[in-house]
Amino acid sequence: MTATEPHPNRDTDSWARPVDRLTTTASGSGTDTVTGKRVAGPIQGFGQMWQKTFSVRLDGVATTAEQLVAHWKELFPTFWPKGSTFYAPLAGIAPGEVALLEVPPLPGSPIKMSTGVMVIYADSESFAFMTPEGHALSAWITFSAYRDGETTVAQVQALERTSDPFIELSYVLGANRMNDRFWEQTLENLARSVGVETPLVAATKICVDRRRQWRHVRNIRHSPALSMAMSTLTAPARWLRRRRAT
């Protein structure tokens, strides 16, 4: 029988400390949708659980895995697809930091949804984000690099569930594929930044759990999509109230 024994772990400095509620040092319009929220991973999500792995080989590029991850962390916002914005925290991508994001709910949409991510893990070869309540996905996303023979490979691996039934429906109707495209474009941009002219991204998707977690259906109360819809629907009533007041 084993008792808990204190011993040093070499991953100690790579993990964030647990927090009850999120705060951020990043400046962007999403602050209000993240501050005070809890993180939520695939255990707390609603929809089917997917493990998605995207990778790109950096053939002919003289960079080590560590150098690539350092480059990725430093310039992370620049690799995001056009139309999406990543507001890095002041300390950069480091354990415990919270970044803000603005992403269109659909490609080309003029409306942006504000949300964020917490950096839960970061070392010289990888870093990982966890989403907050109110994000479309309840996910862990790990960004890493490794050597395969003479070539460095960059990889994004997401373990995710959609957060609520609305988002799950949109996933079934095609948002799942759009989300894949987001990470493919991110890796293409990263590869181009180090000199790969025609990057080829490989993708593997596994549905780890087909069941939906109906016990988490109430996640919908955090949904920014629902807030946005309610705000739009009630806009005429608010306009009328303001008119009467003046």
């Binding site: 008792a3 070499r10 647990p18 993180v39 862990w140």
Partner: protein
């Protein structure tokens, strides 16, 4: 088998509870030994599987993902997962990732066994 990782299946005082003693690392690369040990525990008739992390030396974010995959597999088969032997550092990681909401944590295997009754 991944070098530096061992997952050893041990019987307990309860016939329907099996303990898996994990030593070394848990990363996404250690899926084979961990899943093989879980499969062996299930084949032996276990309804509850206690994961003993007393020998855990290193875990990265891929390792946490692997534990969630294991949890899903256990739930699909109607098995219960428990954790023992976590030091303060790994308890904090379970709290950070909210894995402690799905896997109950106990100080010792005896305490976990008592909780299954």
């Amino acid at each position: 088998m991944t070098s530096g990782t061992r997952a050893e299946v041990r019987s307990t005082a309860q016939i329907d509870t099996t303990l898996i003693r994990i030593e070394g690392e848990i990363t996404s690369g250690t899926e084979k030994p961990l899943m093989a040990a879980f499969g062996q525990a299930v084949d032996s008739g276990a309804r509850t599987v206690i994961l003993d992390f007393g020998g855990l030396e290193y875990m990265n974010s891929g390792g946490i993902g692997l534990l969630v995959t294991l949890l899903v597999r256990a739930q699909r088969q109607g098995k219960r997962l428990m954790a023992v032997g976590l030091n303060e550092h790994y308890r904090q990681i379970f709290a950070l990732t909210r894995l402690d909401e799905a896997i109950s944590i106990h100080d010792t295997a005896d305490a976990a066994l008592a909780a299954t009754i």
